[in-house]
Amino acid sequence: MLNSSNNEKRLDGRSRDEFRPFKLEVGVVKNADGSAYIELGKNKIIAAVYGPKEAHPKWLSQSDRCILKCRYHMLPFSTDTRKNPAPSRREIEISKVIREALEPAIVVKNYPRTAIHIYIEVLQSDGGSRCAGITVAALALADAGISMIDLVVGCAAGKVGGKLVLDLSDLEDKEGQADLPIAIMPNLKRLTLMQLDGKLTPNEFDEAFKLALDGCYQLYDSQRNALFTKYFNVDQSVSENVSEGVSENVSEGVSEGVSENVSENVSEGVSEGVSESVSENVSENISEDPSKNVSNGDNLN
């Protein structure tokens, strides 16, 4: 069913399992505790994390964990026709599902009585902004040094012109028959967001789900790389051949060996403390087994 469409190009010349060009950057807002920026096609989205800080109003705080506040917001000039700056029902819903997509990755028990604020501003939207928002917000959380058991990465697949495709653009989303945004914790293989708009047969649903899953892993590589670029000043894609002297030279801070060591743990699918160790202060001894930092992921929520 799908093979026949494999070689046909889409409206913008992409193949069916190809992303639009994207760029990720960590640490873009000076005032924020953590921040990140993503461009995905014409999407330009900035995410900032403030906290953990005192929860307001006070009665919202919880004695055994932090609370998360998340706002996804589109700027008035981000769309074709001006968007009213007041939060729409769509934005209220998306803020909620993004928060719920990120929360499973955060070790909320580490920050009792506090609030972590996640702000996502869409500077320009081009389809798939909720998934890009999740991807970039997870980076901002890691950048803020928030304890996490995994990153969260999101992307959408959908059905356009009867064919299943990855990463729908605005036009494809509007003209298409279905849109399936998902977000996962890539190392733990847990699904934290799923929505579906439009009709799919059971087979198409399975295929689209797989397509989106593969997309998430593609994006995850770049997500991780963006963290390495900020914290180790090393492009991970060129550090593959660094192999020895890892545990000796770490304690003095940044070195090429560090990113190699961490990336090994990540790619082995270590289920604990991976992104935490990445986002922790770099001068800490990173060669320490990351799994010691956090207890078993299942007990965290």
Partner: protein, 274 residues
Amino acid sequence: MRKSVVLDSLKSAKIIDGLSKGTRSDNRDLLAYRDLTITTGVIEKANGSAKVTIGDTEVLAGVKISMGTPFPDTPDQGVIIVNAEVTPVSSPYYEPGPPDESTVELARVVDRGVRESKMLDLEKLCIISGQKVHSVFVDVAVLNDAGNLFDATSYAAISALASSTIPELQINDGVVELTGNDLPLDVSTLPVSVTFSKIGNSIILDAAFDEEALVNARLTLVTDSEGNVCAGQKGLPSYFTLDEIKTSSELAFTKGSEIRKVIEEATNFGKTKK
């Protein structure tokens, strides 16, 4: 809707303990629904209406069809809007006020199921392109919340639509007039929502109120009469494994078609159509 339900620790321990052994506090199977009843035509002034009960959960939906103007980007399509309201009569935990994010999510997920299933052909609801269309408003009010509002609200909305009438019109020299007759509203498919709730590692259907206080992840899947899945939503701050998604997406079809039979019966779906 404001849900800050705190369950007695004894009660929650009992529920969790029961689920781990495969039993529920009301002796249902993990994947069994409570009794579902649907009564249509309960509000005379509405074009269509339905009252749905699932166990003690009680939800009322009404359809109002009026003439309106189309959206500028879809000049030849009618308008359908589904809204849900969780009234303060429905639970001691809820207070009046603007809808909070849970209510917005509920309304949008129900709307998505109706809209994406294309159960109403919006082009048939166009009267004069760019100027006059039928606007179909489906409003659902929760009267008693005993759990599983997502499914109850969805069943009420589609039952009300499937039993609705639409005013007959005639156009004389560009002037639209009501003939005074009502025609049955044409509904092509019945999108049925099935909501899975995850407590610990157990997945249950049709969570009751007490169970809902313990649910850490929720998955709603909507399937249509032709065997397509047409809408979905994962909610609440925990996760599903990939296997759980696979099993749930299969179960949504089998459970959905059982429930569809009840809705078909209540609305005479497919029987009274021309």
